[in-house]
């Protein structure tokens, strides 16, 4: 039981910091878009506007909007407001980490084995189920996926060594 986190005052990153971070991120994105557009050519050629013409102005508008959002984040967002408390963020990370491993694993071992692993991790780690139930779900669902997608809808999905060994 995690009693301390329930009794303690909610703490976590400030909403303002995250807002500022997002505004800076969109500003950087804008600069990348502007740089890319300049490379493609932002002005007119003999046959009309060049490829970078439209994205250049898009980039400029993102930059302007980001600056306004940045200023508003600094002025308007109260300092005490929390983005989320640490318990909440821990829950978000507990999804993100397995998900990142899952995504990396797909191109390596194929989607079926990776999915079985993802379901098992979720059920064991977050749901605290018994091994029998975990095994049942994490084996049954990839098989259902295989039947529905590969057999019925004829959608080929990424496969790894095990599927090759089984002859698919």
């Amino acid at each position: 039981m995690s009693k301390p986190s329930e009794t303690a005052v909610r703490s976590g990153p400030a909403h303002r910091t995250v807002e500022i971070g997002v505004a800076l991120f969109t500003a950087i994105f804008a600069l990348v878009v502007i740089a890319g557009s300049l490379k493609a050519g932002k002005d007119w050629a003999f046959d009309g506007p060049r490829a970078g013409f439209f994205p250049f102005y898009i980039g400029v508008s993102i930059l302007i909007a980001s600056v306004v959002n940045l200023i508003r984040a600094v002025i308007d967002v109260p300092k005490e407001k929390l983005f989320a408390d640490w318990t909440q963020l821990r829950r978000v990370v507990s999804v993100l980490v397995p998900l990142a491993i899952y995504v990396a694993a797909i191109s390596w071992v194929g989607i079926y084995l990776a999915s079985a692993g993802l379901i098992a991790i979720f059920m064991k780690w977050l749901g605290r189920y018994g091994w029998l139930k975990v095994a049942a779900y994490s084996i049954a669902i990839p098989i259902i996926v295989f039947i529905v997608f590969e057999k019925y809808f004829l959608v080929p999905l990424p496969k790894g060594a095990i599927e090759r060994w089984l002859g698919f």
């Binding site: 993102i62 978000v92 191109s107 379901i119 959608v155």
Partner: protein, 514 residues
């Protein structure tokens, strides 16, 4: 043309449209299509019931599955998923106080208190019947208005086309409840993402920075699955959802009693349907429509002060409006090629993949397809009503499956959906990135709908913009060159500055009172 001949022409045209509609009904009523309809509705209600799996995302994941079907069958199944999701959102709102979809938030205000008072069955019946009435109203509007709009829009040149896009995007900025500069930032990011890859007009590469994975561009389906799918799961996880709620079974007696009570509220229903249609056609969407309808009903009703404690009117008003809005969002998509909601945008993307160009020409070149789609809207909503009325216990039971089992299954579905768009594992990595971005943007009040709409429409908007400028040798005066384009652009500017205008107007009006 003499007057008699022209009324005669209109008459034959209307007759032709009715014949087309019946042809559409015949197509939809084929057993295969009826089966797809019910599968679609079942999947849709499931999507509507499960938090973390929304309409736009659900349709996006299932879109690649329909590539092997005929466009007509595919659109029937996909729109039925959408109807199902529109209906299903109410189930969780009423039984669990958890809106399955953002547009059913307003339904929780009175729906959940009703369930607490032991009137869950009444609330559900009212919600489903209202959803049906709202949707039906919108479908009738589509049947009558869409062909007229399309016929009118046939005369549009590039400048007029661009002005319609301009109006759509300006209404987003002016009418959404999010801060305008955040809406602009989100929307423009969408446009920027749309322009990655090959430039359609010059054939030149741009914004790829040498990454070969970026050559085909960023598909909007990937963005939708990441932003709405993964992002939503992260948000749900943060809230740490625990489902606690009432179970319900609809008995015929309760259904009939509730139906007998509903005609009393005919005026409110009509008003909510009109609000819904209006908000759906202008791309404000179903969510604000449901709130606005609830707010107005609260102000106008005799029992307004009791709203929030479990009034049936408080369930009817938002449900009529959100389904009317969700359905009528397809009107501008079909007739102008401008979708009124993210899900409509995904459907539009689907049409493009099947080689159908949505817009006025669709009504001329693909008559059979358009009228089958419209016919399927009528039948799909009837199917939805049947499914939700009979399957409430089933869906309530699904909700009791813990999130730690449902979440990984949704994530696997997202990965499969993302992969099957282009058979690329790079896209699966992209949905993770979009997921984190979506989570952060959503938490910071950036709207995601305009971002998605901009990715879908970016290339078309850019093309019409550049074509117009080509025609005018670079002078922006072309957007004011005739009455039509000038009017639409002016409407766009009014929508853009609407908050300022309405603010100034109310100040002017309140001045003499002092």
């Amino acid at each position: 043309m003499p007057r008699g001949a022209s009324t005669q022409a209109i008459k034959t045209k209307t007759m032709q449209e009715i014949a087309n509609l019946f042809g559409g009904f015949a197509t939809v009523l084929e057993p295969y299509n009826i089966m797809l309809m019910f599968i679609g509705v079942l999947l849709g209600v499931l999507i509507g019931v499960l938090p973390g799996l929304g309409g736009a995302n659900g349709v996006a994941i299932l879109l690649p599955l329909t590539f092997s079907m005929s466009p007509t069958s595919a659109i029937i199944m996909l729109t039925c998923i959408y109807w199902g999701a529109l209906f299903g959102g109410a189930i969780t709102s009423i039984l669990f106080n958890i809106p399955g979809e953002p547009w059913s938030v307003a339904t929780t205000f009175d729906g959940y208190p009703m369930a607490r008072k032991g009137q869950a069955a009444e609330a559900l019946t009212a919600a489903f019947s209202s959803s049906f009435i709202g949707a039906l109203f919108a479908v009738i509007v589509i049947t009558l208005v869409a062909p007229l709009v399309a016929a009118f829009a046939l005369r549009f040149g590039p400048a007029e086309k661009f002005s319609v896009y301009f109006l759509a995007f300006c209404s987003f900025i002016g009418l959404s409840k999010e801060p305008p500069f955040k809406t602009i930032a989100a929307m423009m990011i969408g446009f920027a993402l749309a322009s990655v890859g090959l430039d359609q007009m010059t054939g030149q590469l741009r914004l790829t920075f040498g990454f070969t994975s970026l050559l085909p561009g960023i598909d909007f389906l990937i963005a939708v699955i990441g932003l709405f799918g993964i992002g939503e799961i992260l948000l749900t996880m943060e809230e740490g959802l625990r489902f606690k709620g009432d179970s319900a079974r609809l008995s015929l007696r309760v259904v009939l009693r509730t139906w007998a009570e509903m005609p009393k509220y005919w005026f409110m229903i009509l008003r909510s349907a009109i609000i819904g249609c209006w908000m759906g056609i202008t791309p404000a969407g179903a969510t604000p429509a449901s709130f606005m309808s609830y707010g107005i009903a609260k102000r106008m009703s005799k029992r307004g002060s009791k709203f929030g404690t479990g009034e049936i009117e408080g369930v009817i008003a938002p449900e009529v409006a959100n389904n009317a809005a969700g359905t009528s969002a397809l009107l501008p998509m079909l007739s102008l090629g401008v979708p009124g909601s993210p899900t409509a945008a995904v459907l539009l993307g689907g049409l493009l993949i099947w080689g159908l160009q949505p817009g006025p020409l669709l009504f001329v070149e693909q008559k059979e397809f358009v009228w089958s789609l419209i016919a399927s809207m009528y039948l799909g909503n009837i199917a939805s009503l049947i499914v939700v009325m009979t399957c409430v216990p089933l869906f309530a039971a699904i909700l009791r499956v813990p999130f730690s089992i449902i979440a990984p299954i949704i994530l696997v579905a997202c990965a499969i959906g993302a992969f099957s768009v282009h058979n690329s594992t790079f896209d699966i990595m992209l949905i993770l990135v979009f997921g984190v971005v979506g989570y952060l943007l959503k938490k910071c009040d950036y709207p995601l709908a305009p971002l998605v709409l901009a990715i879908v429409l970016g290339n078309n908007a850019e093309e019409s913009f550049r074509q117009s400028l080509l025609a005018s040798q670079g002078s922006p005066a072309i957007f004011w060159s005739n009455g039509l384009v000038g009017t639409i652009m002016a409407l766009g500017l009014i929508a853009l500055f609407w908050p300022l205008i309405s603010n100034g107007w109310s100040r002017l009006r309140s001045r003499p009172a002092f």
